[in-house]
C-alpha cells in the first residue's frame, strides 16, 4: 500500500502506453479507410466506380479528404458559445476513442519472457464501462448542436440525444440476457467462454438482433440517421461547423461504427476466437505470438464483416420517419428485449434444476 511516488512497475506502464498508442492509431486508420470503403460500397451497389483518381483504386482518397478538411477556413459563428462550440467535437471524438480500452484484441503474447495481454484494461465492469462512455457521446452532439445557436442544429441535437437515450434502453436489456449466460461483465471472460464453447449468438439470436438494431441507432447510421436528415434539417447538428471540427464529428461517427462492430463480434461472435480451430492447441503447435496475431486478424475480419453490413444497410434501406423511430424503440424493441430477458432467465433456471 505504502508505495512512494514514481515507484511503479515501469515496464507495465510502457507496455500499456505502447498498447494504447497502437490501438488508437489503428482505430484512426480504420476509421479513415471506412470513409473510402463506404464510397466504394455505395458505388458498387449503384453500379458506379467510386473514388478512383487519388492513388491506385482511390486508396489515397481519405488522405486527400483529410488534407482538404485541415486546409479549410475555420469559421466560428459570432453568436455561438465559443467554448462549448469547440468542446462539442472534442467530446464526440474523446468518447469515441475511449471505448476501445476494455476490448480484448487477442490472446497473450510472449515478449521476451513477459506475458503481455492484448487488452488495455481488464476491469471487473468491462461492458458497463462501454455503456458509460457511449452515454457520454450524447453530450458531444447536444453541446455542439446547442452552442451553434441555430434552430436546425438544436432540433437535430435534440433528435440525436433522444434517439440515443431511447435505444440505450433495449440495448442494455438485451445485454442483461447475455450477462445471465456468461455470469461475468469482464469482456475477457466472455470471450474466454466462447473460445472453448459455442458462440453466444447461438444462445442469444434475438438478443443479438436487438443489440444490432440498437447499435445502428446509437451510431446514427441509416435507417436511423435522423439527426442528419438533410431534407428536413439542412445538415444536422454539425451544420455550423467547418474545417476539422466538422471532420472530427464525421470521424467520430466512423470510429463509433468500428468500435460497435468490434463489440458485437466480441460479445456475440466469439471475439478473437478462430472458428473451427482449437486455439489452445494452435498456440502449442505454432507458438503464442503467431496465434495472438492470427486471433487479432480474425477479430478484424469479423469486424470488417460487420462494417460492411453497416454500409450495406445504409445503401439499401430508406430512413425512418421520426414517430416510426420512436414507436420502434419504445413499443417494439423494449418489450421484445424484456421478453428475451425473461425467457432466458426462465430457461437458465429450468436447466439448472
Amino acid at each position: 500500500m505504502y508505495f512512494t511516488l514514481l515507484a511503479f512497475d515501469w515496464l507495465f506502464m510502457i507496455e500499456k502506453l505502447v498498447l494504447i498508442v497502437g490501438i488508437v492509431s489503428i482505430s484512426l486508420v480504420i476509421a479513415m479507410y471506412e470513409t473510402w470503403l463506404e464510397r466504394k460500397v455505395a458505388a458498387w451497389m449503384q453500379d458506379r466506380r467510386g473514388p478512383s483518381r487519388a492513388g491506385p483504386i482511390g486508396l489515397l482518397q481519405p488522405l486527400a479528404d483529410g488534407l482538404k478538411l485541415f486546409m479549410k477556413e475555420e469559421i466560428i459563428p459570432n453568436t455561438s458559445n465559443r467554448l462549448l462550440f469547440i468542446l462539442g467535437p472534442c467530446l464526440a471524438m474523446l468518447a469515441a476513442m475511449m471505448t476501445s480500452a476494455v476490448i480484448p484484441w487477442g490472446g497473450n503474447i510472449d515478449f521476451f519472457g513477459r506475458a503481455v495481454s492484448l487488452q488495455i484494461a481488464d476491469i471487473n465492469i468491462g461492458i458497463l464501462y462501454v455503456f458509460a462512455v457511449v452515454s457520454m457521446g450524447v453530450f458531444g452532439i447536444m453541446i455542439g448542436g446547442w452552442a451553434s445557436n441555430n434552430k436546425f442544429s438544436l432540433m437535430a441535437a435534440l433528435r440525436g440525444a433522444s434517439q440515443a437515450i431511447s435505444y440505450e434502453l433495449p440495448m442494455g436489456l438485451s445485454l442483461i440476457a447475455l450477462l445471465m449466460l456468461t455470469g461475468s461483465l469482464k469482456l475477457s471472460v466472455i470471450v474466454g467462454q466462447q473460445l472453448d464453447g459455442v458462440w453466444n449468438v447461438v444462445y442469444q439470436p434475438l438478443g443479438f438482433l436487438i443489440f444490432l438494431i440498437c447499435a445502428f441507432a446509437e451510431c446514427n447510421r441509416t435507417p436511423f440517421d435522423l439527426p442528419e436528415a438533410e431534407n428536413e434539417l439542412n445538415f444536422g447538428y454539425h451544420q455550423e461547423y467547418s474545417s476539422m471540427k466538422l471532420g472530427f464529428y464525421l470521424f467520430a461517427e466512423y470510429i463509433n461504427m468500428f468500435i460497435s462492430s468490434v463489440i458485437m463480434s466480441t460479445l456475440y461472435f466469439g471475439g478473437y476466437d478462430i472458428p473451427f480451430v482449437n486455439d489452445a492447441a494452435l498456440a502449442e503447435s505454432i507458438g503464442v505470438n503467431l496465434t495472438a496475431g492470427l486471433q487479432a486478424l480474425t477479430l478484424f475480419i469479423k469486424t470488417g464483416g460487420f462494417i460492411f453490413f453497416f454500409m450495406w444497410v445504409r445503401w439499401t434501406i430508406p430512413r425512418f420517419r421520426y414517430d416510426q423511430l420512436m414507436n420502434l424503440g419504445w413499443k417494439k424493441m423494449v418489450p421484445l428485449a424484456l421478453a428475451n430477458m425473461i425467457i432466458t432467465a426462465a430457461v437458465i433456471l429450468w436447466l439448472k434444476k
Binding site: L128, V138, I165
Partner: protein, 167 residues
C-alpha cells in the same frame, strides 16, 4: 505522498471546485456541464475505493441519463440574461437566512461525528464489486430493494399517465 493520496486530493478539489461552479456560473447550460464534472469526480472517488460498479453506474445513470434530460429542458427554455426576472430584495435576504440555517445544522451535525482514522479500504477491497453487491442486495437488503423497485414502478406509471393526458 503516495499516488492514491495525490489522486484523492485532486479528485476532491475537482469535486468541490466544480460543485461551486455549478452555483456560480450564470449560464444554466454551463451549470449542468459543471455538474457532470462533479459526477465524474465522485465516480473517481468510488473507483479509488474499488467500488467499480457504483462508480460506473453513477456515471451511466446520473451523468449519462439524468443530466441529458436536464440539458434537454434547459436548452429548450431559452434562459437568457434579459429574460431572467429581477429578484426581490427580501427574497434574497430570506434565501441567505435559509442557507445559513442549513449550514448551521450541517456543522452541528458533523461536529460530533466520529472521525475514524482509516475509514475506507483503498484499492484492494472487494466489497464494491458486482458479486458482493448483488448477493448483499438480494439477501440482507431484499425488502428495501423490492420496495424501492415498487416505488420506481409507480413513478413510471405516473409519468405515463401524465404523458397520456394530452391525447
Amino acid at each position: 505522498m503516495s499516488i492514491s493520496e495525490i489522486l484523492f486530493y485532486f479528485l476532491s478539489v475537482m469535486a468541490l471546485g466544480s460543485a461551486l461552479m455549478v452555483i456560480i456560473s450564470r449560464n444554466p447550460v454551463h451549470s449542468v456541464l459543471w455538474l457532470i464534472v462533479t459526477f465524474f469526480a465522485i465516480s473517481g472517488h468510488y473507483i479509488m475505493m474499488n467500488a467499480q460498479f457504483l462508480g460506473i453506474v453513477n456515471l451511466i445513470v446520473y451523468a449519462g441519463a439524468i443530466m441529458v434530460l436536464f440539458l434537454f429542458v434547459i436548452m429548450l427554455m431559452n434562459l437568457n440574461a434579459e429574460t431572467e426576472p429581477k429578484k426581490n430584495k427580501w427574497l434574497r435576504m430570506a434565501g441567505i437566512v435559509a442557507g445559513g440555517c442549513l449550514l448551521l445544522v450541517l456543522v452541528a451535525a458533523l461536529k460530533d461525528a466520529e472521525v475514524r482514522t482509516s475509514a475506507v479500504q483503498l484499492v484492494d477491497g472487494d466489497i464494491g464489486l458486482i458479486k458482493q453487491l448483488g448477493s448483499v442486495l438480494f439477501t440482507d437488503y431484499v425488502v428495501p430493494f423490492e420496495i424501492s423497485s415498487v416505488l420506481f414502478l409507480s413513478a413510471m406509471v405516473g409519468a405515463v399517465v401524465i404523458g397520456k393526458k394530452g391525447d
